[in-house]
Symmetry: C2
């Protein structure tokens, strides 16, 4: 039997080829990123043939004033062919993304399997613990269930995919839960909020801390021209693209009742206005604005995160769609019986900042009450995770 043991160990290494290979090249498996006690991070890549290697990143530091959402830092090669970059200390606790550029070729870090996709770009990520970093981490708290579920959209005559978070305890109880419908931006899909947005971790942690009510979060696909995320679409394995057709032409708003109908038929949910919230980022904020206005008695809570506001704000905006007609008049109808919370969050550097300022002017003019939350930076996931964390803690209380 001993011979099998030896063979098994051999094949173990062979199966592990990609990893083992790097270890063989560099003399030892590289640790990258290495997070140090002073909250600096060390990045390492074995690339002895390369002429230049840099790290493309989005880091923030407590004591370094950077206003650079995305930038690159050069790495230095040592005599063993390992390139290294060490950040300054005191990274702000956060989830960070990065990749390497090796002689101009974008390369993921072979020492780090944790990868997120943003539209068609894969990046590595890591979390610096503490503060918001803890909120985005998997902690030893009760965990909700995350499901990929298909439903039939009658309006679109399409089977479509959504991601659903049900809070810890859902499976083994009989309570009904309120629902947050959480919508992605242009180029995103039903995977965006659960991966880049850390929705499950944020909700698990807020609920465990008593800072949010247990709720179901429904993350549908907001691109009415597609059934599902790339790779999950029947018959096609297209790569993701940013500018899909029909994303802001009224189709998402009109077909939204199919989603609500499916959710309320399938899950144990509170079917009242005060049990429904809708929020979204960028295009999803646009959808949230116009859906909540189209069905003014449906949502007790509305969240606009770095939202596009007017159809003309968007490359695919259909200014002629009657879904968007008489915006001010319809807002008056919505606010005649107002939602319990109408929440607007945006960063100072966002290209949609001015549109949001103009929109707040419109709301002020008609006497509509809203909560305004302004942050630094712009149209980035870091802000959207913050907005979700803030908004979720205000719901259903």
């Amino acid at each position: 039997m001993r011979r099998f043991k030896i063979l098994f160990a051999f094949v173990a290494v062979a199966c592990f080829y990609g990893f083992a290979q790097q270890a063989l090249w560099s003399g030892a498996a590289l640790k990258s990123p290495e997070l140090r006690a002073d909250r600096s991070a060390v990045f390492r890549l074995y690339a002895p043939e390369a002429d230049s290697v840099s790290v493309s990143c989005d880091f923030l530091f407590e004591f370094v004033n950077s206003n650079r959402p995305q930038y690159t830092e050069k790495m230095e090669k040592d005599s063993t062919g390992v390139w290294t970059y060490t950040t300054p200390p005191m990274l702000v606790p956060e989830l960070y993304s990065y990749s390497f550029l090796v002689d101009g070729v974008k390369t993921l870090d072979p020492s780090n399997v944790f990868v997120n996709r943003d539209v068609a770009t894969l990046s590595n990520y890591f979390i610096v613990k503490g503060g918001r970093g803890d909120l985005y981490s998997v902690n030893d708290v009760p965990h909700g269930t995350v499901s990929r579920v298909w439903y039939y959209s009658k309006s679109l005559n399409m089977n479509r995919r959504m991601t659903v978070y049900t809070p810890a305890g859902y499976e083994n109880g009989d309570s009904v839960y309120p629902v947050l419908y959480l919508l992605h931006g242009m180029g995103g899909d039903e995977e965006a909020w659960i991966s880049l947005g850390r929705t499950a971790q944020i909700l698990d942690n807020l609920i465990a801390q008593g800072k949010a009510e247990p709720m179901i979060v429904v993350m549908p696909n907001g691109n009415v021209s597609q059934e599902a995320a790339p790779g999950e679409t029947p018959g096609r394995i297209d790569q993701p693209v940013f500018n899909l057709p029909k994303t802001m032409d009224g189709g998402m708003e009109r077909s939204f009742l199919d989603i609500v109908e499916f959710v309320e038929r399938t899950y144990r949910v509170d079917k009242s206005k005060s049990g429904r919230a809708i929020a979204g980022l960028s295009m999803g904020g646009f959808h949230s604005l116009h859906i909540s206005k189209l069905y003014p008695d449906m949502f007790g809570y509305v969240g606009l995160f770095s939202a596009a506001i007017f159809p003309s704000d968007a490359p695919n905006g259909d200014t002629a769609s009657d879904v968007y007609a008489d915006m001010e008049g319809r807002l008056k109808v919505q606010f005649a019986n107002p939602p319990e919370l109408y929440w607007i969050g945006i960063g100072k550097d966002d290209f949609l900042y001015k549109a949001n300022t103009e929109y707040r002017g419109m709301l002020d003019r008609i006497g509509a009450k809203y909560t305004y939350y302004e942050t630094g930076e712009g149209h980035i996931w870091r802000n959207w995770r913050i907005y979700l964390s803030e908004f979720a803690s205000l719901l259903f209380r």
Copy 2:
């Protein structure tokens, strides 16, 4: 409003930087892989500074005799800095994996976002349609739900994560379903079968074709030292490793009842022996063998896929564990009231082939009936997808 439109388009490109960058470099977005009508595939990478680029792959061809589960092919550079490799025609319909080596650095294809993780190695994948390729594809058929669910294991005093497939119709009916418990190999976790194994696609397609009964598939984590897959484990973001402790020491077998108890309490399932199946690959086959023998009245169907057999077959095997004691005697007990199907699948080149031959001898000696399914190749996911497809179609009928 026009200014916002222009700004939005600009930021759209900026957000899309990784992708747009490649397009700018190479003059046009590269298509890679490009699948051609003759079933060849073209791989492209823009890397003008590189001295050598190759593709590491696992391709099979109808008319090329290759016995190479993993091999590399050199790519050629053109005057624009784009490296290209074109395969021979007539790729066998299959799911294939590949990555690039750029001057020795393993690099994912920046034109292909579809990536699988095998232990600590990320690879791109694509599917050649037809035959098994269709079975592994998302098709326009009813889709089951895939959930990541946490349960409490009393034996291990740990909250643990599993992946659960419920067939189409589960949410909106009241039928009970049989359950297949499907176990991963060493270095794997609760993500392995659903990603590399294409479990959801295989089951969706077999069920839609009437070739498999609607069933629930439960994919637990078989490493009793960990709560969940890397990145999903509370408090830790360790990179995956192959050789975790306590994987074959009897702990998985002993704690398995916690999984069955949770599933039978949480889902609408057939709780009889003829409604339960267990199968696994490599270490998971080992677990299936010993679990079904430890609880001889529990499983009506048992599948061993390239299974490790004896504790001494494994680096972590605990030959002293009483779970593995008196193997032949306990098999006699199990086969006194035999499962409806005891299925053994293995490839001719598998390093565990001899152990499986020896084991079949043991089964023959005690008069135990089993079904034997032999394929080419060895200890690879291609075989495990085949075994799942074959085994699932024999269950619960």
